[in-house]
């Protein structure tokens, strides 16, 4: 009964969505306020209906209602509660329901808090939003109904894929989707602006926080996914340039570009049509990302069971959304007038370079991801494009931009002074030189891109700090530097933290990519293997039981120069319901790198096991860096300017800061 009610709510939401995507649009066209006002209650009721629907599916999972196909296929009565709940979105149908839940949630947020938007813009934004959700409702109701029943009901479920029964992965899809769907807001605003024929600073002040929030969520989502692959798959790697990973990385690249170009629209009233284009691109990549993973067209190490029959519908939806919005863009974008002018060497120029490199990077990833599909479709044979391709193309493409990132914030708007900026960055240049030399000395040489990567990470980190030091006049007037630091706008804080985070992440990637050490062998109890100066002693394996699995646990004692460092417990689990083993790598994190051990099958009859031992240098900095980026994005979103929707008057701002200072 609950499942049927959830299904019914979904159907109702479809019809509310159809009304919301037409009436307010027509109203905005005819300047009819009553028709436009329709959008708000419609958006709220869509959200309420989907909350109900999502709740119904969650309920069915929680009480293990095995007469619902979705629950039967993805759950099991013995599964821990956390995974019963995360199992709701751990499958195709449920994940789509989560998608529309977030979509309608964001839509109702615009309806609620969009009071300061021009009524016609608001009506159109919500109208476009509803069109997107109608597409998704149709897709769900026609091809992937999460509430389908089966008769007779099963006694117990087929259990969820054990690899997915993991806290890191339980929260990976929601964050990823919050990111994807967040870009739908930028998209709706972009399409609405194209219909209106007007883009101004107020528009950008609305788009920026949505983009920032989406970007931050997507960053969390990607980092969680990468972290999961790192410790759960037991391959010692964290990024495989796998199509599924690329699918989430492309919207991130486009979103990063959008984030930066929206600044130019807000501050300088230029680059408007380009920003609109990026908004369309970011959302198109999000849609592509959602569907690539679910459509079964990609061969991927991460591909879970998929259904190619949905492919046609997906392709149609993608064509309508992407084709339609690009056609509208071609038609209306020339009407958008920019007023700001700038020289190539200026902050605008720097942001533009960021945009172009990000978009080119996105295009390269797209090419590498879709090329095998394309070649296969024209009968050119089956190929796979993996890390060697992306490393050879993507990394050299990004390096110049990462270098330019040091300069960007140092240049002034309109007309920058390159020579002056270089002089101010002299400390960063020196630090970079030292870092490169130190890397070569400590690591005793090493791969070219590893050394370049370390150097560029130091360059970015130091230049960000130099920029902040100048901003607060740390060396010119150190007395009040701290007070000035505290009074920096949150957007500035956000930028500094995010750029620092990027520098840390690059250091982690360069370290782990360049100097990873690995050793595979058969170890008998008491035997020792040395990897990167750490001695791993195998102390034998024992068996045990978990809630819905059995365990073989191998213990390793790690020492360095005789001093104990850590005990590692690597596990191999077996989930009887699915007859499926999983590998649980043992990881001990140090600031200098991760000790990583995996246990395989037993070998011989003296208690020997195949073991795989890694030392992954600096990996932890990747996660710390991602955290900095997310915190930076979040602080930026909370900037006061976005909440009041108009530039703060000079006096009121200083008044506010005086207040804050006295408090």
């Amino acid at each position: 009964m609950i499942a049927e009610a959830g299904h019914f709510a979904l159907v109702l939401a479809l019809f509310v969505g159809i009304v919301q995507s037409t009436v307010p649009m027509v109203g905005a066209h005819r300047d009819n306020t009553i028709w436009m006002a329709m959008a708000k209650p419609a958006a709220m009721s869509q959200f309420a209906l989907i909350i109900f629907s999502f709740g119904a599916l969650t309920y069915s999972h929680v009480v293990s209602d095995f007469s619902v196909v979705n629950v039967y296929q993805n759950s099991h009565s013995l599964k821990p509660m956390l995974y019963k709940v995360s199992g709701v979105w751990g499958n195709h149908e449920g994940s789509l329901l989560l998608w529309v839940l977030i979509l309608t949630g964001f839509g109702s947020a615009v309806a609620m808090f969009g009071g300061n938007l021009p009524p016609s813009l608001k009506a159109r934004v919500l109208g476009v939003q509803a069109m997107v959700s109608v597409g998704f409702y149709l897709f769900m109701l026609l091809t992937s109904n999460p509430f389908e029943r089966m008769f007779p009901a099963a006694l117990d479920g087929q259990d969820m894929n054990p690899l997915l029964q993991d806290p890191g992965l339980a929260f990976h899809p929601p964050f990823l989707y919050l990111g994807y769907v967040g870009f739908s807001m930028a998209f709706s605003f972009a399409i609405a602006a194209l219909i209106e024929g007007r883009v101004d600073a107020a528009w950008a002040r609305w788009v920026r926080p949505w983009t920032l929030a989406a970007w931050s969520f997507l960053t969390i989502g990607i980092a969680l996914g990468s972290w999961w692959a790192y410790y759960e798959l037991g391959w010692g790697g964290w990024w495989f340039w796998d199509p599924v990973e690329n699918a989430s990385f492309m919207p991130w690249l486009a979103g990063t570009a959008l984030l930066h170009s929206a600044i130019v629209v807000e501050k300088r009233d230029t680059m408007k049509s380009w920003t609109i284009f990026l908004a369309i691109l970011a959302f198109s990549m999000s849609l592509l990302g959602t569907f690539l993973v679910r459509s079964g067209v990609l061969t991927s190490v991460h591909a879970f069971a998929t259904d190619p029959e949905r492919g046609v519908f997906i392709l149609l939806l993608l064509m309508i959304v992407i084709g339609g919005s690009l056609a509208l863009f071609a038609l209306r974008a020339p009407a958008l007038k920019s007023t700001g002018m700038f020289k190539p060497i200026s902050r605008e120029g720097g942001l533009l370079l960021n945009n172009l490199v990000m978009s080119t990077g996105c295009a390269v990833v797209l090419l590498g991801t879709l090329y095998p599909l394309f070649l296969d479709a024209v009968g050119g044979g089956k190929v796979s494009i993996g890390p060697p391709f992306f490393n050879a193309v993507f990394i050299p493409l990004m390096l110049p931009m990462l270098f330019a990132m040091g300069y960007g914030p140092m240049l002034s708007w309109k007309r920058g002074d390159l020579a002056g900026a270089s002089k101010r960055l002299i400390v960063a240049f020196i630090a970079t030189g030292i870092a490169a030399a130190a890397t070569v000395a400590i690591a005793d040489g090493g791969p070219f891109f590893g050394i370049i990567g370390m150097a560029i990470a130091v360059w970015m980190g130091v230049s960000v700090l130099v920029e902040m030091a100048e901003r607060i006049r740390l060396f010119k007037a150190p007395g009040k530097a701290f007070a000035r630091l505290m009074h920096q706008p949150r957007a500035t804080w956000g930028m500094t933290l995010a750029h620092l985070g990027m520098a840390m992440a690059i250091a982690g990637m360069a370290g782990a990519g360049g100097w990873k050490a690995e050793s595979i062998q058969v170890m008998k109890p008491g035997e020792t293997v040395t990897v990167s100066g750490y001695d791993f002693t195998f102390e034998g394996a024992k068996s045990g039981r978990g809630p819905n699995y059995t365990i073989i646990q191998g213990d390793f004692q790690v020492t360095r120069d005789g001093e104990p460092v850590a005990m590692l417990h690597a596990e191999k689990r077996n989930y009887p319901v699915r007859q499926m083993p999983t590998t649980e790598a043992a990881i001990h994190t140090l600031m200098t790198g991760d000790l990583y051990a995996v246990i395989g099958d037993s070998e011989g009859n003296e208690g020997g096991f195949v073991t795989r031992i890694y030392f992954n240098p600096l990996v932890v900095w990747m996660w710390i860096g991602s955290l900095f980026m997310v915190v930076g994005g979040t602080i930026s979103v909370s900037d006061r300017r976005y909440r009041i929707g108009a530039p703060t008057a000079r006096q009121s701002k200083s008044g506010k800061s005086a207040e804050a200072a006295s408090a």
Partner: protein, 158 residues
Amino acid sequence: MKRKHKRLSFVGLALLLIAAAAALVLNAYEESIVFFHSPTDIIEKKVSSDRRLRLGGLVEEDSVQKKADAVVVFNVTDLSNSVSVRYRGILPDLFREGQGVVAEGIFKDGVFQADEVLAKHDETYMPPEVADALKKSGKWDAMGEEMKRQGHTPKDSK
């Protein structure tokens, strides 16, 4: 600077980047794109030993042998031909006899030297390349029977 100049420098920079990307792509293309082969392809075509390949098919029943020093040898078959594969390391969790598998490495002296073995995350899932290889060798239907005999039901048949 006039608007026209601004646009020109924008387009110039964009073209420069695209050219750089294209050069990098073409440069990487030869070395880093890995072609997929079925066991029949490997046996019938002459494959050079200095190119990386992907080999896909089913792990032949009763062919998996563990050797010393963590080496595993097994046969990959498309039910017409089979190729011997040598791999050193820990096999993926879902590696099993009779299941689909993809190995990456080089074919040398009659043995496929794999440095990477992929089996899928889900036990009911068949890699599309493997399915294709089986269809080409005309054994897809036999495979379907075999899968059913082992108790697998394709997910979408409700």
